[in-house]
């Protein structure tokens, strides 16, 4: 059994574990952990070959989901891999959610890597159980195990046609040794992998049963709402709680100091009440005087001008091939553009919330967290206790998008529970969520391209400025990091002789974090729009222009073992174009736009069809194609690609977070809008058939949408938009 863990180039990134470039996969497992995943003692009714599988004598099969369910379908996909290798009957499977514990391998549900990391380990878990059930049956029948086979919860002897139900083998299977290298299935023998399996939680989802964070209730539990400083890292000067204490249901008002750690609580004034509403009302009634601190200087209007100026000047070198300056000198045409994208916020439908009870030297947490292991280690560190005293129960997540891998909201609940000596449920208001997040970085980009007389791109200069995620984890240098550049900047896919990528300064004034697709949103946007601008200059078709720039079939090796293959990017481009009937005659005012992007080791292309009539934008159709290697669950992949299209349209239409005097100007869904059903287009998804190792699914569908939309609008109207959101342009 191998544990797959992250090894990163920079230690402080380790805890945040971003998925894209800069990460290396290593296989290792400490001996003690290996012991833990092995056979446990037989209790008379249940076969437990490893931590992920419990088979009861009635045949009921309980499989452990080690990753968090946030709409990613992971409770279904991971367990279906175990069930497949085990040859189990899916109708007898139920899923148990793992607590946060290093014995379950990496649990950080982030970076589109649950399947990429756990596909093989989960196969081994299932195959181990199957081998032991076969051995158990062989012992019972007195035959050679190699003569036996399995199907749908039965061990079968093909010689005699005798069958033994898995449930009737729990004792025998528990008595055989755990095989070292169980045989894995061949892909052609998969029953569930590669099929269109529905969510195992579908019935519960449609009857209100799943417990999300806020749905946890317990005896004696109190509710807390926190007033945080409107400016990031500001502090409480003093406060008047008299009006709050008069509110029916309010029990107490206390001060919570900031913990100056990446995932530390921001601190503020806490209202403790007997119900959520009283806590919210009590918070509104507080009168707090704040010391805003240095981030009061942060105003988006002037900051955005500053970073735009910064990208017009030479920056730090990120990549340099050939000589771009001579390419520009010898060019037939030069194309220059700047792009500006704002901060974004995740805004999952379920706001950050957590329930914690610190009692008797222990701490129990129930929370919607993407990274329960980091949550546990942060709580352990905060309470200065040991791991065994801290239990992180992972609830369903009402969306995550990266927000819930930062457990600051859990630490708030822990700190308050410790202080008031009662179970505490902290609930953020939507305003808290929009105004105190870890924001997706604002950006400015400058691009310059050289074209020769045949319309070939001979020079490519791409300069970016954005606050770095590393600023949340270490003193801010104002510059980005390798794992940020490798999300579409330094690894842009096109074959161009002279390439230079640079990074210009952009300091952080709010907490910067990762949001679904991360810097791929920024760099996937500019690269795809700029390529269209180059194509327009040469009067070439944007699809053909891209294919020409990918003409050689090259493989760019990556230390992760996941290599970039240009032929796969070409393939998704061609398929998306074909599915969209690219080149078809369009009505007046309609346009098609195309974009492609490689991220999280997956290849995606989308074609967006729009109309712009009387300055009103309508997106009619989106055709997306993904090559994510082996497709484990085609239903989930399709759903993720559909959702990614909507997520991409949302940010293109409306996504904008701005600060004025350090205060975030948006507060709820009226001024941080989401795409609604009336603007939702038809979405068609194709999944490329592949036997390669599985790669990312949750995020890769997002980065192509906004640039494909911009390119479609250009083709419909002749007008090129270079900044988002489009609501600022009066189009939506």
């Amino acid at each position: 059994m191998h544990k797959i863990q992250l090894v990163t180039r920079r230690n402080f990134i380790k805890s945040i574990g971003l998925a894209s470039g800069g990460l290396i996969i290593a296989c290792s497992i400490p001996a003690s952990k290996e012991e833990e995943t092995k056979l446990k003692s037989f209790n008379g009714t249940t076969f437990e070959p490893n931590l992920f599988i419990q088979l009861k004598d009635n045949g009921e099969l309980i499989l452990l989901a080690s990753r968090s369910e946030m709409g990613n379908g992971v409770r279904t996909s991971l367990t279906s891999v175990i069930a497949d290798e085990m040859d189990a009957d899916w109708s007898l499977v139920s899923v148990k959610q793992a607590t946060g514990d290093t014995k379950f391998m990496d649990q950080n549900t982030d970076g589109s890597r649950s399947i990429r990391y756990l596909f093989e380990p989960m196969r081994v878990m299932g195959a181990t159980a199957r081998a032991m059930l076969i051995s158990g049956a062989a012992a019972k029948w007195g035959v050679d195990a190699s003569t036996l086979t399995t199907a749908k919860h039965y061990v079968i002897d093909p010689e005699t046609n005798k069958k033994l139900f898995y449930g009737d083998l729990v004792k025998e299977a528990s008595e055989v040794p755990v095989p070292e290298n169980p045989t894995l299935k061949e892909a052609k023998d998969f029953n569930y992998i590669g099929t269109n399996l529905k969510s195992i939680d579908g019935k519960d989802f449609t009857s209100g049963k799943p417990k999300y964070g806020m749905d946890i209730k317990m005896e004696g539990m109190l509710f807390a709402a926190v007033a945080r400083c409107p400016v990031t890292f500001g502090t409480v000067k003093n406060y008047d709680k008299s009006a709050t204490l008069k509110i029916d249901g309010v029990k107490d008002v206390i001060e919570l100091p900031r913990v100056a750690k990446p995932f530390g609580p921001l601190g503020g004034v806490v209202v403790i009440a007997t119900n959520t509403w009283a806590a919210f009302k009590g918070k509104e009634a507080l009168n707090v005087e704040w010391d805003y601190g240095t981030n009061e200087q942060y105003t988006s209007a002037s900051y955005n001008e500053m970073i735009l100026e910064n990208v017009k000047k030479k920056g730090k070198e990120v990549r340099s091939d050939g000589n771009v300056n001579s390419a520009f000198k010898n060019a037939e045409h030069i194309v220059e553009s700047t792009y500006q994208l704002p901060h974004l916020v995740h805004a999952p439908m379920e706001v950050p919330n957590a329930t914690a009870w610190v009692h008797d030297g222990k701490c129990d947490v129930w929370a919607p967290v993407q990274d329960p292991q980091t949550t546990r280690s942060e709580v352990v560190s905060y309470l200065e206790t040991n791991e065994e005293n801290v239990t992180i129960n992972v609830t369903f997540l009402g969306g995550g998008f990266g927000r819930k891998s930062k457990p600051d909201f859990v630490l708030e609940a822990v700190a308050i529970s410790k202080k008031v000596n009662a179970p505490i449920q902290v609930v953020w208001t939507r305003e808290d969520d929009i105004q105190h997040s870890y924001y997706h970085a604002v950006s400015a980009q400058y691009m310059k391209g050289a074209l020769d007389k045949d319309g070939r791109v001979t020079g490519w200069l791409h300069r970016v400025a954005y606050p770095s995620i590393t600023s949340t984890f270490a003193p801010d240098t104002g510059y980005g990091a390798g794992f940020e550049f490798s999300q579409g900047l330094s690894n842009m896919p096109y074959q161009i002789e002279n390439v230079r990528c640079e990074n210009a300064k952009a300091p952080a004034h709010v907490r910067i974090g990762w949001l679904r697709s991360v810097y791929n949103i920024i760099q996937g946007f500019s690269v795809n729009v700029f390529v269209d601008e180059l194509a327009a200059k040469t009067k070439k078709d944007p699809l053909q222009f891209r294919l020409d720039m990918l003409s050689k079939d090259v493989v760019i090796e990556d230390p992760s073992g996941y290599h970039f293959e240009s032929s796969k990017l070409k393939n998704v481009l061609s398929l998306a174009a074909k599915n969209a009937n690219y080149g078809k005659d369009l009505p007046q005012g309609h346009g098609l736009g195309i974009a492609c992007h490689y991220s999280f080791f997956s290849y995606v292309a989308s074609v967006v069809e729009v109309s712009v009539i009387d300055n009103a934008l309508k997106v009619h159709n989106i055709h997306s194609v993904i090559d994510c290697g082996t497709a484990v669950n085609t239903n989930t992949i399709t759903a993720q690609m559909e959702g990614a299209a909507i997520f991409g349209l949302s940010l293109a239409y409306y996504g904008k977070i701005t600060a004025k005097g350090g205060v975030i100007e948006q507060s709820n869904f009226h001024d941080y809008q989401m795409l609604r059903i009336s603007n939702a287009p038809n979405i068609n998804v194709e999944i490329v058939k592949s036997n390669s190792k599985p790669t990312g699914v949750g995020e890769p569908g997002v980065p192509v949408i906004a640039p494909a939309l911009i390119n479609a609008i250009y083709n419909a109207t002749g007008k090129r938009y270079r900044s988002l959101p489009l609501t600022d342009e009066g189009l939506v």
């Binding site: 946030m70 579908g202 989802f205 709820n668 609604r676 939702a680």
Partner: protein, 154 residues
């Protein structure tokens, strides 16, 4: 004190009469399928049926629903089991959080309109945000539910 029937069961809710129905249902009654999303009637996650009509429970005080019949997601099978099953068959939910509100809005739409067009669906469902982006499947599920219900009544 408000007297209400929730999912065919009678409750006496003894809370501040100004308390929004959302929090009364969740924190006092203890039915947690109804969700908080925005507190301002902007997202529809808290939608319940009050006397058959879709209502944003985050903006509706307990006092105003005294004597009413309320349906939450936990009781939706009494209202429209077909829709619930179609929702499962098409596997509409992703994270699932907004789906209580989506389903109740859809149930209310089909009560009023047995053959909704895309435009009708937009009109009835536009108040319900889904951050996961399940709109495509919601539309499909409503059309399919309508088709099944109509074939049964014809």
């Amino acid at each position: 004190m408000a007297l209400v029937t929730i999912n065919e069961k009678k409750y006496e809710i003894d809370v501040d009469p100004d308390m929004p129905l959302l929090w009364a249902i969740r924190d006092a009654v203890g039915l947690t399928g109804t969700k908080y999303g925005c507190g301002k009637g902007l997202c529809g996650a808290c939608t319940v049926l009050v006397d058959g009509k879709p209502v944003r429970s985050c903006l509706t005080s307990v006092a105003t629903v005294n004597g009413s019949q309320i349906t939450t997601i936990e009781g939706v099978h009494n209202e429209n089991k077909v829709l619930q099953e179609v929702w499962q068959e098409i596997d509409v939910p992703q994270c699932g959080y907004c789906q209580s509100g989506q389903i109740l809005s859809a149930v209310a739409l089909l009560k009023e309109n047995s053959k909704p067009t895309d435009e009708d669906i937009d009109g009835a469902m536009n108040g319900n945000i889904c951050r996961c982006g399940t709109y495509h499947r919601i539309r499909k599920a409503i059309h399919k539910t309508a088709a099944i219900m109509n074939s049964k009544t014809e």
